[in-house]
């Protein structure tokens, strides 16, 4: 039996899915730009703006559903989670924008020492994989898939600290490269964190349990 609130919930779910795809694009485009030294700032900026306005729309819609339908139980948890996840997606967009801004201001990583762009490419693949997990587990409220984000999360954390260590050890890179790569890797690590938050929200929404996947 479909209830009045279901229409609203489905609309939210569709919006979030679109946001998810958009963030995936924004992140991969901005990383690509860094690695290949192409100017992608404007494109990513557009996507980021769109994500912010979509997040606002989700916030409005959730408030409307709350005031009209006084949801409880799984409906309430779903709405609460959707609001958080929309914010997380918008953050993805911001970080993607920040990455392409670094690229814009300080130049890309193409000219840096070989191991740096390689390292960043490897890490960005892991992070994009996590983003993909977060989008797909949200789509079907798939808690099993959501839990698989733990492993890459730990790997990304390890890679982050290892990079900092190697950088301080080697010390050959230009200051531009050092600053760019550190900032970019920082943003990647944050994106990974938010992917984990999203997966935790998916588990809460479906089961009511608050877990920590980090």
């Amino acid at each position: 039996m479909s209830r009045m609130i279901d229409v609203g919930l489905e609309e939210l779910s569709a919006t979030l899915h679109r946001m998810g795809e958009l963030t995936y694009d924004a992140i991969s485009v901005s990383i690509d730009g860094c690695l290949h030294d192409t100017n992608v700032y404007n494109r990513v900026n557009e996507m980021s703006d769109m994500l912010i306005s979509m997040a606002d729309h989700v916030e409005d819609k959730t408030f409307e559903l709350i005031s009209r339908f006084q949801p409880v139980a799984s409906d309430l948890r779903t709405i609460k989670s959707y609001m958080k996840i929309a914010y997380d997606f918008a953050r993805y967009g911001r970080y993607a924008l920040d990455i392409s801004y670094i690229n814009e201001r300080l130049g890309g990583l193409k000219k840096c020492e070989g191991w740096i762009p390689q390292y960043i490419e490897e890490m960005s693949e892991k992070v994009l994989h996590m983003v993909r997990i977060s989008i797909e587990s949200l789509r079907n409220h798939n808690t099993e898939l959501a839990k698989t984000v733990s492993k890459p999360e730990q790997e990304v954390d390890t890679m982050y600290f290892e990079f900092l260590d190697r950088l301080t050890e080697k010390g050959h890179a230009t200051s531009k490269c050092i600053i760019s790569s550190v900032l970019i890797i920082r943003y990647l690590e944050r994106i990974a964190d938010h992917a984990t938050y999203i997966c935790e929200s998916v588990i809460y929404l479906a089961t009511g349990q608050k877990v920590v996947l980090r």
């Binding site: 209830r3 609130i5 799984s74």
Partner: protein, 250 residues
């Protein structure tokens, strides 16, 4: 001020088995909501607590209900004293066809709780507890019917409180009232919950969520789930409860 311990309560009306093996404990000094779809036995349940089902011919009750450790269905129980200790407020406000004063004074007079001036004090205290005193203090001798619906219901609450009960039962007390009157009574219920054990039947989920500390969900005469209101409404343990409160049936 009294815990209500229900053990294997069964109630039949002729051949109809209305309540089936109910067992749970209602905490004292709190508001407990009893909710469930129509016909699930909520009203029969609270009427069992002050043995009001016995008035209906063809009713049969087995099991025990312990109030303050004493089984109220024991043969030696004084039903009239039980009904003084357990007050009841009905769905449709039903003040007596007497003055406002006489309505509240009726109970204390019957139970010979007080005389003369003492009764005046009790009436004032009860009307204050029911948040009605200010509105009626200058017209205590007016007919109870001259009050609005919401005021009449508060008068019925004052009447029940006048005999100093320990437990207050309310059977959908706001269903015949408009939203403004409902809001006043809900606020009153929360206040009463600090001093009395309040048990309220409601089919309005939001009211149960607003007003109660604990909630019991009854379905076709059986207890499906009982717990803390906050947890039950955010994360119900039973799937049936989840379906009911999210509106998939009922």
């Amino acid at each position: 001020m009294a815990e209500v311990d229900i053990k294997k309560l069964n109630v039949w009306f002729k051949d109809n088995h209305v309540l089936k093996d109910l067992s749970f404990t209602i905490k004292e000094n709190a508001v407990t909501a009893i909710m469930g779809p129509s016909g699930c036995g909520k009203t029969t349940f609270i009427r069992a607590i002050d043995r009001m089902n016995e008035i209906i011919s063809g009713s049969r009750t087995t099991g025990e209900i312990y109030i303050d450790g004493i089984n109220i269905y024991d043969e030696n129980t004084n039903v009239y004293e039980l009904r003084r200790k357990v007050g009841m407020v009905f769905q449709k406000p039903n003040p007596f066809p007497k003055s406002i004063f006489e309505n509240v004074a009726f109970g204390p007079k019957i139970h010979k709780i007080a005389n003369g001036k003492e009764i005046d004090k009790i009436v004032e205290k009860s009307l204050k507890e029911a948040a009605l005193w200010e509105e009626v203090k200058d017209r205590l001798n007016d007919s109870a019917f001259s009050l609005s619906g919401g005021q009449q219901q508060r008068l019925c609450i004052a009447r029940a409180l006048a005999v100093e009960p320990e437990i207050v039962l309310m059977d959908e007390p706001c269903s015949a009232l408009d939203p403004a009157a409902t809001a006043k009574i809900e606020a009153l219920i929360r206040e009463l919950g600090e001093k009395y054990t309040v048990i309220i039947v409601t089919h309005n989920l939001q009211q149960a969520a607003r007003v109660s500390d604990f909630t019991a969900f009854l379905y076709v005469g059986k207890l499906v789930e009982y717990g803390d209101t906050k947890n039950l409404f955010e994360n119900p343990k039973s799937e049936l409860t989840e379906k009911y409160i999210t509106g998939e049936f009922g």
